[in-house]
Symmetry: C2
Subunit: 214 residues, 2 copies
């Protein structure tokens, strides 16, 4: 398997966690999102990923885009350990958390969105930092309440073993810390983050542990 | 089953399409996103959906959030007709398209984002309309090329029957038209849209056909 990745991409980090949890070896192909105007915009990379985003996974003739689709694929092709629970209701709970992070928070704080805000909307540094913090804070407010209220959550988002939901949560908390967003008001999220980062599968997938880390 | 919905919400429309394709009867509970500052912010609704977004599906004691998680749940609990293909590679293709729409385009043009751009960033009407069109155009450019290049696509995004991918694509095209975004440069997307809207499952899920339509 070949993973096109960028060390700081949280979408790529999600997939790296899943690969590590399942102990699947892979070749990491770094795609530098900033160098030379962005290597993701090259014709070569776009032929694999028309949207010019990371990650892309190439496995057995399949060229796969979108981190959550890739993780579901890995879970279907390498079921152990499972990243989704067994019952449909539990699976929807886990997917719901993953999608809340992947749809309601992360897309708004993507590199290309911050660039557009700066160059086209003309938002200054303070406005962009406030934007970044706003979407994390509002999303985490909802998610922390959701996790705290659910009988399904435990040491991780669902029960006591990591799932798809945690592959999305941990990179998002790391990003919040990196941009100095105050997350002290989200104790359940912080507890899960601290617990997950004790596991090599999460820590070794972190930006600083990647071959292309700067 | 009870679906908390808003006629213009494209996330709710995705689920309405899935329910119709599977011929599942449901009670529609309208949540007006604009009236009285937004009915989604009421304590009652937030107890079902901490994120204060539609849709929410209540089924058999399960309270489910996030449209794609809900559709996967419906596909697992009511497998016929399937909304995902059989092989892992094909499933990842379908999920990848659904997620590209749900993560790269739709979140940026959500009501709450447009509100924040206006009230907090101070973006005027022209800047907000340009923002709206930009994310649709850039996303559709990638998606149209992806669909046109793939041996997997047919009358629909995958083959000749509707899948999860189409439940996401059709509402997004409708929104583009509603905001006068030029989509003439995306012939494969337009062809799939025109084809899908011939089917009652899609047309009867459209905003204008909802009990709360204005």
């Amino acid at each position: 398997m070949k993973l096109y990745s960028y060390f700081r991409s949280s979408a790529a980090w999600r997939v790296r966690i899943a690969l590590n949890l399942k102990k699947l070896p892979y070749d990491c192909v770094p795609v530098h999102l900033l160098r030379d105007g962005g290597e993701q915009f090259s014709d070569t990379y776009r032929s694999l990923n028309h949207d010019a985003v990371v990650p892309t996974l190439v496995d057995d003739g399949n060229v796969l885009q979108q981190s959550l689709a890739i993780i579901e694929y890995l879970d279907e092709t390498h079921p152990q350990p499972p990243l989704l629970p067994a019952s449909p209701g539990d699976r929807a709970f886990v997917r719901g958390i993953a999608l809340q992070l992947a749809c309601e928070i992360h897309p708004l704080n993507n590199l290309r969105v911050l660039k557009y805000l700066k160059r086209t909307v003309g938002a200054g540094d303070d406005a962009r930092n406030a934007w970044y913090a706003h979407w994390i804070s509002s999303g985490f407010t909802a998610l922390d309440a959701h996790l705290a209220a659910s009988r399904r959550s435990g040491a991780f988002c669902f029960g006591d073993a990591p799932t798809l939901a945690d592959t999305c949560l941990i990179p998002q908390v790391f990003n919040a810390d990196r941009f100095n967003v105050d997350t002290s008001g989200f104790p359940t999220i912080r507890r899960i983050y601290d617990h997950a980062m004790q596991l090599p599968a999460f820590a070794q997938a972190a930006p600083g542990a990647q071959p292309d880390a700067e």
